[in-house]
Amino acid sequence: MSHPLYDRLMSCFREKFPQNLRGITDAEAVQPGRLQPHVEEFLTWAVAAYGESIIETAAEAFVGFTTDVNIAQVRYEKEGQYRCHTYAEVYETHYSKAEEMHGYLWGIYLSNWLWAHHADLSYFYLDRFVRPIAAGSHFVEIAPGHGGWGILAMHRVPGATIEGYDISPLSIEIASRLARGAGLEGRARYEERDALSLSSLVPESADACVCSFVLEHLEEPEAIFRAVAHILRPGKTAFITGALTAAQVDHIFEFKKESELVLMAEKYGLRVTETLSANPARQLPKARFVPRSMALIVRK
């Protein structure tokens, strides 16, 4: 099976960013043969929404994003804590800068697949969370960012619909365009709204809930579990991820143990049914912090 957009993306890395190729080779090796079609699908939606130049734009954004993350992790090793501690600090230094955020979102979009440990989480999402969800289910995505996670589910669950709420107008724009590019006209709706104000939504209105890599960006990540417990119908499931001892320019809340996320879920009556904690194949020599990304599937 050919993957022309994936091949074009890889050519870009080979020519311009050879130091990023080895990490991508790690991602390909997580489940051999499975990565390419998923990246091709993500790129197909992106090209449909933004044109072919988005491939080079996304490649550069991914490299910039990965570089920023690696710099933050090296500094975290030296300093022992994340640099930002409040949302206001991060807003001032990053979120208020539209051009920077554009690159940031495309970098994250590709990192879902091109970071080996995130590819692992994406397979877990598809195989263990999305696959059992019934046709026609209604999803709510909390802070979808680029929207890729929810759109992926829409492509696997026949007749499903999704509403996404994000505080960032740029995220709403990108997620909406990507959803249209993915052919989800009428099935995906995004609205500018603070994830912390979701308690005003109709309670028990979602058949499934997705909240990916949001917790660590908040001063009080518990609010997400409270919102999920409010939105989800009894017996239905949510997919929630978080980053642990993984520095990034906009990470605020420093999770150190997997149990911290589990306890937060349980506090709001959510039963943790499955978890996956994954770490990058390549780490700093003699690192005292092992960066991890953790996914939880919770049932109300």
């Binding site: 311009k16 960013f17 050879p18 130091q19 990023n20 190729l21 080895r22 990490g23 550069e60 490299v63 910039g64 990965t66 570089t67 920023d68 690696n70 710099i71 992790q73 090296v74 990058p280 390549r282 780490q283 700093l284």
Partner: protein, 78 residues
């Protein structure tokens, strides 16, 4: 000592390869361990060794040892 020689000793330390020989044309294609994480570690060591600072873009877009030599020359106080 010229910049390339200084870099050679630094590359040997970072990659922990005592017999590593670099040229201006050396890229990540030529050194097995040169991944994005070591790349950042390397560039931060260069910053410390040469007393200069790089932007994220300069770190991300740097392709070869030759590019690094030129960038150091541009950044280093005359």
């Amino acid at each position: 000592m010229d910049t390339l020689s200084e870099l050679q000793s630094l590359f040997r330390e970072v990659f922990q390869l005592d017999d590593l020989v670099i040229t201006r044309g050396t890229t990540a294609h030529d050194i097995e361990a040169w991944d994005s994480l070591i790349h950042v570690t390397l560039m931060m060591e260069v910053e410390t060794r040469f007393g200069i600072r790089f932007t994220t873009a300069e770190i991300a877009y740097l392709k070869s040892v030759g590019d690094l030599v030129d960038l150091i020359a541009k950044k280093r106080p005359a």
